[in-house]
Point group: C2
Chain length 169, copies 2
């Protein structure tokens, strides 16, 4: 299944609404040995922060769940046509995380396309958008995806804020 | 000069203290043609968001100044031994941005090392830290840098918050 592939992003954007969430784990207060025994976080493949409260990553597995909890995310946007695996659905339910599935076909790098269109809205120049796309797509980079980003019509969304990087909403 | 090189990151981390900053540009309110004529933003090479209010990038040039303004940054951490160029100093002065220079020698990818050490503090597993390091270092990736990140002693900083991704401070 595509969603089980381990080659990076398969179409998941994790978004955090603009609100304050408690940390899942409090900072360590014990001694050094206690801290050393603490679990390490395992971010999903290709994990990165896109903007305030918006993250991107490959499809998360069980190993990533505690990291996702630490982010305090409230919703996940899933871009693959395949059904969301039951174990992940259970994790979302247990943590009050909403799932929004948009089955996108015909692109090699769905998350990269979505982030690229967001950058168009933020008025990034195309060379910077493509640089970011290629950094995450690596071997999956496709000219057709970049053409899609370039031709994405932002005119209907012209009242979208130009950038949200500077606001700590 | 290294700081003028165009091959990606040369040691700049741009940080935004946890406070609310106004956007440098208000959203477009005019017609479509007006919006189309608006300037596009040119982020510095290898620009990315590291965490809330913390950004990374290669050395910024004049073309990047309006983008940096839009972020509302308050300080820049500069990791190269070379003097900061006068044009950039003027830009910082005009925008009330502080400059903090730490002349780091003997690493191929200074910003990547610094971000890697931050990820150690955030308790990311090493495979994820190295994956992120390599994504930005590309051809400049060095095993010695990754060894530095691995051996970085976080015990003296054990009271550092494990993760700040979830807080919108």
């Amino acid at each position: 299944m595509k969603v089980e592939s381990s080659d990076g992003e398969t179409g998941t954007v994790i978004s955090l609404p603009p609100a304050v969430f408690p940390t899942a784990k409090a900072p360590a207060t014990g001694g050094e040995s206690e801290r050393e025994e603490e679990e390490l976080f395992v971010p999903p493949l290709n994990f990165a922060m896109v903007d305030n409260g918006v993250f991107r990553s490959g499809f998360p597995s069980f190993a990533n769940f505690s990291f996702l909890q630490s982010l305090g995310i409230r919703s996940i946007v899933y871009l693959c046509p395949e059904p969301y695996p039951e174990a992940n659905v259970e994790f979302l339910k247990a943590n009050g995380i909403g799932l929004y599935q948009f089955a996108i076909e015909g692109t090699q790098h769905r998350t990269g396309c979505l982030v690229g269109c967001l950058r168009r809205l933020q008025r990034w120049c195309l060379s910077s958008i493509f640089d970011e796309y290629q950094r995450f797509a690596a071997a999956k980079a496709r000219v057709s995806d970049q053409r899609f980003i370039e031709l994405f019509d932002v005119s209907s969304l012209k009242h979208f804020p130009l950038s949200c990087s500077c606001s700590n909403r």
